[in-house]
Symmetry: C2
């Protein structure tokens, strides 16, 4: 028998959602930004309490029933029919409201840490509903395009959001992301939602479906030219790009530096470029060194949330 | 030097389009029904003439400028900047207006036969525009979801119809089709078009895109359970199935016999079931032996249009 764990520390990564042609159904995990979450057993209490939150500028609620990470941790207990006393710490090491899946990172971290502390009774896939319990409270929607890659790693396609039917797609080693985040741009979720039309023409719907399907083939075939042709967004980008000053300029500069594709991550304001190879991703990044943006360069994080030793 | 061909006979197969989740962008070729087209050189004339058409109940035009096969054959000459004298024969060995890609078979056969007779200067992919020249006249639309698999064989995804950017997807050996065609049901193209909404909700669009993308993954992974979950049509089937009496009954019977998926081929009235294995496809077929339908059972035709020796 392994001695029972008394404390677990995990790191849940930031994620890029939509990826151009996969509005609400596609996302990938990156390295770098994310949430560090600690859960430890506590014999002096019943239930979960939040002992410390850092890196959030005081924005995250300490109340367990309102906190994304705690809701997801509690959902794991509920799913297993367990109870007990637990203390949590949440250390945000990524920006809020950036389109990089901040709430999903908290939800994934809370669910995964609790499961690890309990001896991993649930698989990562089995943790999806618990992670969604927190994420859906924070995002007021039921879309797993950030939670799935955060939990499972790599590139995830959500075949069906209601049933959380998630397909892990191949994540080519040579596919790298360059992420641009301008902290001066604030996009309210409600505003970002209004920029996406409630209806689209059937022609746009079938074209976008063809693009997403072609992207899946491109990932299996490692066909970077097809990938570049496929990451085109006719649904969200036309409206949402209006909320991001200089979007078109950033896009043209990234493509001019050799990026395969460029778009808005989630509801923005973060922007992503995908490139063939690490050098190419840094080349894209270097073009923005004098802009007021934070830049992350990352391979695809194929592991997803992980225990910090 | 090989002696110049004086005559070529080709067989262009029937095709199943849409396949549930791939409205206007997905199709596959089958064995069995199709068009046999002969082109021979003729020194006694300039241009193409149609010498004989059979199997068409007198419905196909003998005028070259109105005949789908001849238009596509002429488009090959135009593409190559060639001229000459040619006689054509068109022998239809498949039903008209059935949703099995009758006009696409003629277009593909005409283009491919002419190219073969000229010594194959163009690749199959390079023949796409010529085949579309005929198909678009017949179908009054520019969708390559029948022409592409007819020409290239297998399962084809049209990433982009305007530019004819076609992706060949893996065609598992064990994936078999059972096709049901009731000749008593006539569906006018205009009527079928009206049954597809001009707009869909963004939610339906993204769900359908997720399904199509998951189907692509299922084909690469040979994941038949995922394939079955993915072939669901929220765009065309709800309306078009109203034109097919007993559609729901046929569907339930096919699924009860073990079919993975069931839907309308193209604009109907032909219906298709997909099954895992030849035996399973025949099992589905046997359930309809007392119904007023012609039944075809076929593996995926990975070759596409071919020369008949």
């Amino acid at each position: 028998m392994i001695e029972d764990l008394q404390e677990v520390k995990v790191f849940a990564p930031a994620t890029l959602a939509n990826l151009g042609c996969g509005y609400d159904v596609l996302g990938l995990a990156i390295y770098g930004p994310g949430d560090e979450i600690i859960i430890r057993k506590s014999s002096s209490q019943i239930g979960i309490s939040i002992k410390e939150i850092s890196g959030d500028d005081g924005k995250l609620p300490l109340e367990v029933e309102k906190n994304t990470a705690a809701i997801s941790a509690q959902a794991v207990l509920d799913q297993l029919g367990l109870s007990g006393g637990f203390e949590m710490e949440i250390h945000k090491k990524m920006p809020f409201g950036s389109g990089l899946g901040s709430s999903a990172a908290s939800a994934v971290g809370g669910a995964f840490a609790m499961n690890e502390l309990l001896g991993s009774p649930l698989s990562r896939t089995e943790l999806l509903p618990a992670a969604m319990a927190g994420e859906s409270i924070a995002s007021k929607a039921w879309h797993a395009d950030n939670v799935a890659p955060g939990l499972l790693g790599g590139i995830c396609l959500v075949r069906d959001n209601p049933t959380l039917d998630v397909v892990s797609l191949p994540a080519p080693d040579d596919l790298w992301a360059t992420v641009l985040y301008d902290p001066a741009i604030e996009i309210l979720t409600a505003e970002a939602r209004e920029k996406v039309p409630a209806e689209v023409s059937t022609s746009v719907a079938t074209t976008q479906a063809g693009h997403l399907a072609a992207l899946v083939s491109a990932l299996y075939e490692q066909d970077y030219a097809l990938l570049a042709r496929s990451i085109v967004d006719h649904i969200a980008e036309p409206g949402r790009s209006e909320l991001i000053p200089n979007f078109e300029g950033y896009k043209q500069r990234a493509l001019a530096e050799g990026a395969l594709a460029f778009g808005i991550s989630g509801s923005g304001p973060s922007l992503f470029a995908l490139s063939h190879g690490e050098l190419a991703a840094h080349q894209v990044a270097s073009a923005f060194q004098n802009d007021p943006v934070e830049v992350y360069v990352s391979a695809i994080n194929t592991e997803g949330v992980s225990v910090v030793k």
